[in-house]
């Protein structure tokens, strides 16, 4: 009962956070030059212009800096902010010219399922591996098994995802030194040139844009296998980093919990060693891990961007980099907003899950 109120109260904190986020995005808007902003707010002006020619072009069209300032109410920042926020929340996110000339909303909507698939797959995989592995290592600290586990997790913590991605390509794809030549494809999600599934916008499959699901919907098994093969390297790259982070914390939590008095109580009442570890120690060790998992998922967003570029994988990370390279004002703003939203929701979920797990949390 009390938990319900906690969730409501925690949910309300979203509102001020959201306001902060919009302010941040609005400030980001001012980081662009007036001509870029002019283009962003006047979709008709889109074209392949370099910055210098863009200015000339705009001048020819009668868009002097003064006109732009007036049009965007630069002289009235508060009003401008509220107009901007209204745009953000109504989904009126302007247009981008990459991957083609579409509304920003459409572009993100089409590309985001692939990223969700990548992030979710990596998170689930690392949790599934980390919990039993962490229990095993944490139950025998300072043994050879523990040393191996620590080296593994430390390396995962230290290696940047993009570098690891290239190494994996070199080792397992038909590229570079090719240790295991063409074991896994290293580029794209397998949809390029695929037949047997409906292909929609930007060369992604329909209806969900996730090839894994669409191929099954179309009943095309060989394409499904290919989709899985394409996922292996990027998922492994991201998983390695998250796994390392969780593993470290589960191990530390296990060692910490094992030294507590109540573990002695459990042994004193005759709980078999196996159950002491599984029931008493691990349950307490997993609590801090949930918090860490939340943080890692936030870090994952950054990781996804680089990994998607390395593997040429069509998700929002790929989109973000191309937006930035092409100075797509609305694209950058919208993605910042979306990433912020994802972070906020993750944190909310972590807090709620933690309250479920730990009875000591006072609401």
């Amino acid at each position: 009962m009390e938990l319900k109120y906690f969730i409501i109260r925690r949910g309300l904190i979203i509102i001020p956070t959201l306001m902060g986020l919009t302010v941040l995005v609005f400030i980001l808007l001012w980081a662009f030059g007036p001509y870029q902003i002019a283009v962003a707010f006047n979709p008709d002006l889109h074209g392949n212009h370099g910055l210098a020619t863009l200015a000339n072009y705009l001048d020819q069209q009668g868009f002097s800096a003064a006109v732009i300032n007036g049009q965007l109410q630069f002289t009235n920042p508060i009003g401008s902010y509220f107009r901007f926020v209204a745009d953000l929340f109504t989904g009126n996110w302007g247009q981008v010219t990459f991957p083609s000339r579409v509304s920003t909303m459409t572009a993100i909507g089409v590309f985001i399922p692939n990223t969700i698939q990548l992030a979710l797959g990596a998170t689930i995989l690392s949790v599934i591996i980390a919990i039993p592995l962490g229990t095993y290592i944490g139950a025998r600290p300072n043994t050879p098994a523990d040393a191996v586990g620590r080296i593994f997790s430390l390396s995962g913590y230290a290696l940047p995802a993009f570098w690891l991605g290239y190494i994996l390509i070199a080792l397992f794809a038909n590229h570079g030194i090719g240790l295991v030549a063409s074991a896994f494809p290293y580029s794209g999600s397998g949809v390029a040139g695929a037949t047997g599934v409906p292909i929609g916008e930007f060369g992604l499959s329909d209806p969900t844009h996730i090839l894994l699901i669409d191929s099954l919907l179309a009943g095309n098994l060989s394409l499904f296998v290919s989709a899985v093969a394409h996922l292996v390297l990027p998922v492994v790259t991201i998983t390695y980093g998250i796994l390392a982070g969780i593993l470290r914390f589960i191990r530390a939590g296990m060692v910490d919990a094992a030294g507590q008095e109540f573990i002695k109580t459990a042994r004193a009442k005759g709980v078999p060693e196996r159950l002491v570890i599984k029931k008493h120690i691990r349950k307490n060790a997993l609590l801090p891990t949930v918090t860490v998992l939340g943080l890692l998922i936030s870090g994952l967003l950054g990781g996804v961007v680089t990994v998607e570029i390395v593997f040429n994988y069509l998700g929002i990370g790929y989109l973000a980099v191309n937006f930035a390279l092409g100075v797509q004002v609305w694209g950058i703003l919208a993605l910042t907003f979306v990433f912020g939203l994802i972070l906020m929701i993750t944190n909310l979920l972590v807090d709620v899950v933690y309250a479920f797990l730990d009875p000591r949390i006072r609401y």
């Binding site: 008095e261 109580t265 042994r267 060693e273 000591r360």
Partner: protein, 524 residues
């Protein structure tokens, strides 16, 4: 078992002999306990006193073989619980090589240690229970009190629980008629109430005890009582699958027998009796193959459907938890059952710990400073409770404390421990009025007394110096640097704990010249 030593008419419940405990740290080997021996008789409470750092808690932990390894290990000794020496396989578990005090290599034999832990998990909590110093830290923060007590119950009395559930399900009219007749024949309400309680827990209907008692108090009409009883009982029959229950009971019986056989096996290995080892091994193999052939399906089912299969057990255990919590005088046991440890006060938690410790009626209770962390009024309540439990169950208590008032209140016999050695042991009156060892007299003089305030010297006497560092303890008698009566021999030889008066032992050269032989050992 044959090993249980009979002395006089009372049986010794816990015997600790020649205990030696070491902690291997980076600063050197801590000689925590040396040649410690004591015993506790049935129903007796034995107090162990000493300053902080004298080795009281280590002794308690060692008595349950719960010394954390690393860094600690029991090096030598015998601890008889219920007649079985839990340190039978001690020498075989590890090999310790001491290269220098800072470089000690311990090779652990995993398989044997696993077996030892298996043996111990059947003994701990069942034959011997323990209460700890800090009730706040001693209960799992993420499990409810009920769950934690239930766990202890379900671990040790599975066979009894299945038996009483089977009894409940097969309870017929004749049985009830017999019950009613016996109960009607009881002369007074008090004995009847007790009998009802016992019957109800035998038949796994503990929550019917109250309606039954009310029934007999309000009516003497046999017909009416009979009818009502039948109605009451029939509400409690759940219609469980008897076959399944019996199978569970037999399985748990086999498991318990396997545990007992392992005890025998370890004992035989200790005696190096090849014939017996073979015989016991064969029996264990038989049980294992029987479980494999007859109970394979059952075990597999338990693996996946444990939650459903254990439901009747859990329900029974819930009833038992309520009973236990009521027994330790907790107000609102239903609420406490579902509470988490952080929601309760220290006194309440310590009561829950006691309830948990008594969940399987152990013969020995080890109380490691159970009242230190509590305030004075709660202390008195907890002590009362422990004394009460000690009386009703005839449990032996090993009471560890530095509070001499508690000792005077609770204990029959007292051992005084200093620097890991027992220096004096006597009945409680002797210790307080006729203390022999200089350390004990020092302790006694350090007790604040009300009448002393009016004496000339209002200063409290204290023992000069502090507890020795046990990495490099003083030579000879470990107390000699602080002793008022120090002699030359004290720093050279170690006094032996000998009987200097009837039932009064002390280790001091003031009373006896006997020297404890110091043996060169692998582990110093």
């Amino acid at each position: 078992m044959e090993q249980s030593i009979q002395i006089g008419k009372e049986e010794k419940q816990l015997i600790v002999e020649d205990l030696k405990v070491r902690f291997f740290t980076s600063k050197g080997i801590v000689k925590a306990i040396d040649n410690l021996s004591f015993y506790i008789e049935e129903g007796e409470s034995y107090g162990l006193v000493g300053e902080s750092g004298s080795g009281k808690s280590v002794t308690a932990t060692a008595a349950m073989d719960l010394i954390p390894d690393p860094p600690g290990r029991i090096i030598r000794g015998r601890i008889f619980i219920n007649g079985y020496n839990i340190l039978n396989d001690l020498e075989r578990l590890v090999t310790i090589k001491v290269r220098s005090p800072y470089d000690v290599r311990i090779r652990r034999r995993k398989r044997l240690i696993k077996r030892h832990n298996y043996i111990m998990s059947g003994i701990r909590g069942d034959k011997v229970s323990m209460i700890f110093q800090e009730p706040f830290l001693s209960l799992n923060p993420v499990m409810t009190i009920g769950e934690q007590i239930k766990e202890a119950i379900l671990l040790h009395s599975r066979v009894e629980i299945s038996n009483s559930i089977i009894k409940r399900e097969t309870l017929n009219e004749d049985d009830i008629a017999k019950m009613v007749d016996t109960l009607m024949a009881q002369p007074d309400n008090q004995t009847r109430k007790k009998l009802i309680a016992r019957m109800c827990s035998q038949y796994a209907i503990p929550d019917l005890a109250k309606p039954f008692t009310d029934l007999y108090e309000n009516s003497t009409d046999r017909e009416f009582i009979m009818k009502e009883s039948l109605a009451l009982v029939s509400t409690k029959k759940v219609g469980l699958n008897l076959e399944e229950l019996e199978q569970a009971r037999n399985y748990f019986l086999l498991k318990d027998r396997e545990h007992d056989l392992y005890l025998k096996l370890i004992e035989a290995e200790k005696q190096e009796d090849e014939v017996k080892i073979d015989e016991v091994r064969k029996q264990i193999y038989q049980i294992k193959s029987q479980i494999r052939s007859d109970y394979l399906l059952f075990v597999l089912k338990r693996l996946f459907l444990k939650r459903f299969m254990d439901r009747p057990f859990e329900e029974y255990a819930d009833g038992r938890v309520l009973e236990l919590l009521t027994e330790v005088n907790i107000a609102g046991p239903e609420r406490v059952m579902d509470a988490y440890p952080h929601e309760l006060s220290g006194g309440m938690l310590q009561r829950c710990m006691i309830a948990m410790a008594f969940s399987s009626n152990p013969k020995i209770l080890i109380a490691d400073e159970p009242t230190t962390a509590l305030d004075v009024t709660t202390q008195a309540q907890i002590l009362d409770l422990m004394r009460e439990v000690n009386k009703t169950y005839n449990t032996s208590i090993l009471f560890i404390t530095h509070d001499l008032a508690v000792i005077a209140e609770m204990c029959d016999r007292v051992g005084v421990i200093y620097g890991g050695n027992l220096v004096e042991e006597a009945p409680v009156k002797e210790i307080f009025y006729n203390a022999k060892h200089p350390y004990t007299t020092g302790l006694m003089n350090a007790i604040p007394k009300a009448e002393r305030r009016y004496e000339k010297s209002a200063r409290l006497e204290s023992i000069p110096g502090s507890v020795p560092n046990l990495i490099s303890p003083p030579s000879g008698c470990r107390f000699h640097p602080r002793c008022k009566f120090k002699m030359d021999i004290c720093s050279e030889k170690k006094p032996k704990l000998v009987e200097i008066e009837k039932n009064h032992k002390a280790a001091c050269f003031l009373y006896s010249d006997e020297v404890e032989e110091e043996v060169e050992e692998d582990v110093p």
